[in-house]
Amino acid sequence: MSAAAAIPVSSKGPTARALGRFITNRLALAGLVVLAAILIAILTYPLWWMYTPNQIDLRALNKGPSASHWFGTDGVGRDVFARLMQGGRISLLVAVTSVGVSLVIGFLVGALSAFSGRLADGAIMRLVDLAMTLPPVILLLVLASIVGTGIVPTIAVISLLSWPVLSRMVRARLLELRERDFVVAARGMGAGLGHLLFRHGLPNCIDILVVYATLQIANAILLEAGLSFLGLGIAPPEASWGNMLNAARSTSVLEQYVWQWMFPGVALVITVLAINFVGDGLRDAFDPRSDLQ
């Protein structure tokens, strides 16, 4: 009992400890810095950039990068830099929202499956199996052609495609958690289902959710780009990185106006890479085994 003096004044929770491990990971930290820079740029660009994304400059069609148009202009004289920033807004908005939606769906389905009876669990998991066996590209195309183009339909399509894996992981975690003594103890103290799910289930799934969300955002950005590239996602004149890449389908643009597709492509690659570094860092940070090192 003399150890009392050695007790730290404030203790770190599991999340705080994971973040402590995260900031020691150089690559993840670099990813975070790059990501922050991109976010700040795309969120603040109207304040410091002179063009708006749909502003047409007829004297500058297909002009290469210059002092007035940093990243050049496209075929109808719109500033590529402004469109790149606006496209980043749309791409990230679509990615973040769809991941948010699929997080909610995935967690609730996983929870429902884990906490309901064996029959319901079986039925839900077979549905998830079915959703996972469908070829994603075909499902994506069919869904997209049903709901049409635009921001909301694109969000819907991407979130519908990405929740099954998460619900699997959440179910597995909750099944294990359900039998743990502290959950039984909580039931013994009179806790109801909602309390068990949101006070005990959710906080103990936070590692799964954070890691999944980060990596899935990168995935969703790529899905959105793919959909828009095919003309099924965000429709012009609204800009997105995907539909800016769409311009490269024409050989003349591909060969002569490199800046029109290269900048959105590079932005896409850098952003996805940065997010993946952050995601990997988070995964390592939340891994309980990393405490042993």
Binding site: M1, A4, I7, V9, S10, S11, G13, P14, T15, G117, R180, D181, F182, V184, A185, A186, R187, G188, M189, G190, A191, G192, H195, R199, H200, P203, N204, I206
Partner: protein, 336 residues
């Protein structure tokens, strides 16, 4: 203690469904606990003692274990007796935590790793008693002090992994006591702790019980712990109570061969070394607990019993009154 019992289990039969067949994990169970009394439930693994405690809490998984017969009358703070076997989920939730609380075997896993100790103790008080955050947090610190945790203000801010096993068990006891229950069910609360901590926890439970006047149902397989803490004891074997009585009576004059065997099997300091020098193995009860799926005909202890006669294998013996409230489920109790 002849006050009206707060817990009165009569004729309880718990049935498990295993592979389409019904197996009685507990049957013909009669137990009463008076206010402020400690009843110890003793038996080997698989004797049905944990099933009994979980069925009082209604915590057996739905569809797996259920009450087939009998009643569990419980008199809570409100005063009137309720049959716990007939309560719905909502009614049961009102009783859990509020009137009955439970302490588990494993202090390592019975606390949620993502909340601080103080938060976990304060939570039931906020929810059941409607106390404010600040009020409940202060009460949690006081409870931690009551269960003998030094420097409770700091400990309340710590997470479970920062506490030792004994400390955590104290914390789970504090959590169980949060709403001042009238009945505390302790399911082998000292089994996972080392011996010196065990003694401290038992002392603590006795002290708290004396202060608060709550009844305790103490589940254990350790006869030493029974002698230490309980007023009365019920020995279970293969789902039935085989002997019950006050601790003093049962330990002085066991009236069932199983109890005798259990007591002989407790190694005593010095005696064990003596036996080892002579090359005699430690006394045990030959054989093992029969599978509940295939209980032997008649007395379920008969196959392992040195006193068994043919009459033992005919019918399940009833509980015979052997004087002073002691009862034994053995037809030859007078001879042994």
């Amino acid at each position: 203690m002849h006050a009206t019992p707060i817990l009165d289990i009569s004729g309880l039969k718990m049935v498990f469904r295993i592979g389409g067949r019904e197996v009685a994990a507990v049957q013909d169970l009669n137990l009463t606990i008076a206010p402020g009394e400690t009843l110890a439930l003793v038996g080997e693994s698989g004797s049905g003692k944990s099933v009994t405690s979980l069925s009082v809490m209604g915590l057996l998984p739905r569809g797996v274990g259920q009450v087939a017969e009998g009643s569990i009358l419980f008199r809570g703070k409100a005063g009137q007796a309720q049959d716990l076997t007939k309560l719905d989920t909502e009614g049961m939730r009102q009783i859990r935590g509020n009137d009955i609380a439970m302490v588990f075997q494993e202090p390592m896993t019975s606390l949620n790793p993502v909340y601080t100790i103080g938060e976990q103790i304060a939570e039931p008080m906020r929810i059941h008693l409607g106390r404010s955050h600040k009020d409940a947090a202060a009460a949690a610190i006081k409870l931690l002090a009551d269960v003998g945790i030094p420097d409770p203000e700091r400990r309340a801010k710590q997470y479970p992994h920062e506490l030792s096993g004994g400390m955590r068990q104290r914390a789970t006891i504090a959590m169980a006591l949060a709403c001042d229950p009238v009945l505390l069910i302790a399911d082998e609360p000292t089994t996972a702790l080392d011996v010196t901590i065990q003694a401290q926890i038992l002392d603590l439970l006795q002290k708290l019980q004396a202060e608060r006047g709550m009844a305790v149902l103490f589940v254990t397989h350790n006869l030493g712990v029974v002698a230490e803490i309980a007023n009365r004891v019920a020995v279970m074997y293969a789902g039935r109570v085989v002997e019950t009585g006050t601790v003093a009576d049962v330990f002085a004059r066991p009236r069932h061969p199983y109890t005798i065997g259990l007591m002989r099997s407790v190694p005593k300091l010095g005696e064990a070394t003596e036996l080892k020098r002579k090359g005699i193995p430690l006394p045990t009860i030959a054989g093992s607990v029969p599978s509940l799926v295939q209980l032997p005909q008649g007395c379920s202890f008969a196959p392992r019993c040195p006193f068994a006669i043919d009459a033992c294998r005919a019918d399940v013996p009833s509980l015979y009154e052997t004087g002073n409230g002691q009862k034994s489920r053995c037809i030859r109790w007078q001879e042994i």
